[in-house]
Symmetry: C2
Subunit: 187 residues, 2 copies
Amino acid sequence: MTPARNGRHDREHIVGVALDLLDRYGLPDLTMRRLAAELEVQPSALYWHFASKQDLLAAVADRILERIPAPQGDLLATARRVRDALLAYRDGAEVVLSSAALRPGPSRAHEALRAALGESAPGGADIAATAVLQFILGHTSLVQQRMHGESHGAAADAPDQDAAVFDAGILMLTRGAGAADPIAARG
Amino acid sequence: MTPARNGRHDREHIVGVALDLLDRYGLPDLTMRRLAAELEVQPSALYWHFASKQDLLAAVADRILERIPAPQGDLLATARRVRDALLAYRDGAEVVLSSAALRPGPSRAHEALRAALGESAPGGADIAATAVLQFILGHTSLVQQRMHGESHGAAADAPDQDAAVFDAGILMLTRGAGAADPIAARG
DNA sequence: ACCTGAACACCGTTCAAGT
DNA sequence: ACCTGAACACCGTTCAAGT
């Protein structure tokens, strides 16, 4: 049932190792050469499985997005689940943001948000879901980049502040979309 | 009145050349070595003026943000001005997003949005302005990255679609913040 | 089908030394 | 004060050749 696997590594396995490297060392240190070394293979071997580093990162982004559960609940709860999927791996938001730009169609994240928005958004739920996703990606990218910027330097007074900004943003977007008030619902 | 300038290049001049290089070739091709070549100088010479490439990019980001006019008008108009400042240079949003993460205090963009928001936002105008800025950075980064992704390949059917998503996002955020309805106001 | 070996054309950064 | 020259430790990608 599993697809042909004659070589030592297939795409799925390589993406898994890449994701582990990403989480441990961050995006700047996720290089084709380090990934190859981790797989005990020459760097050129990766180019049989992936056309380019961008292609590899797109597959990594898809894997990150798979963590998003099936659509369920209101917008705030759904948005938090998308954010948490991005936060689950170091630099997850930046990877998804970078490769989301190349994709034309809707992603798993977009679909979840669209389902939570219903039909009542101004200009269509599709457009509203896109806007919400863009906020989540911008917010989470900023948060994650600040994380290793202050890893051994500045003050780390932001854990609660970030959550407050996120909730405020989603709340504002929710009210503007005319959806049910999430204040009454539990997060 | 101008500060001491014995050498061939000072920080202001270098940032200007870097910004020109950014706009012509994009962020991936804005390297210290190319910048040095453009200035007809050795790469190591740049490290007398800037501590690192990140330091240089932070100065470039500040220069991009200077294009934002003084606070004036409602949130939609202000948000559009911030977006347009980012769009004025290739990859402008990504540069600002990357170096905004390291800055703790509020930027020129944040101040403009905060002024437009008034005092009526839930959780405070400061938090609301941060959320709006994060949406703008996420949105514009996505738009700009898609631009040179499709420069010689896929369909470019997105000029109006992007503006619709942006306006919808700001509109939703505006209503949620309880500010004056921007539909009645002209953009 | 899958990988090696070697090369090409680059990177950011440091540091002694020059002027 | 400002820059050169040379080096260090890397990059992504291609491609003939092996098995």
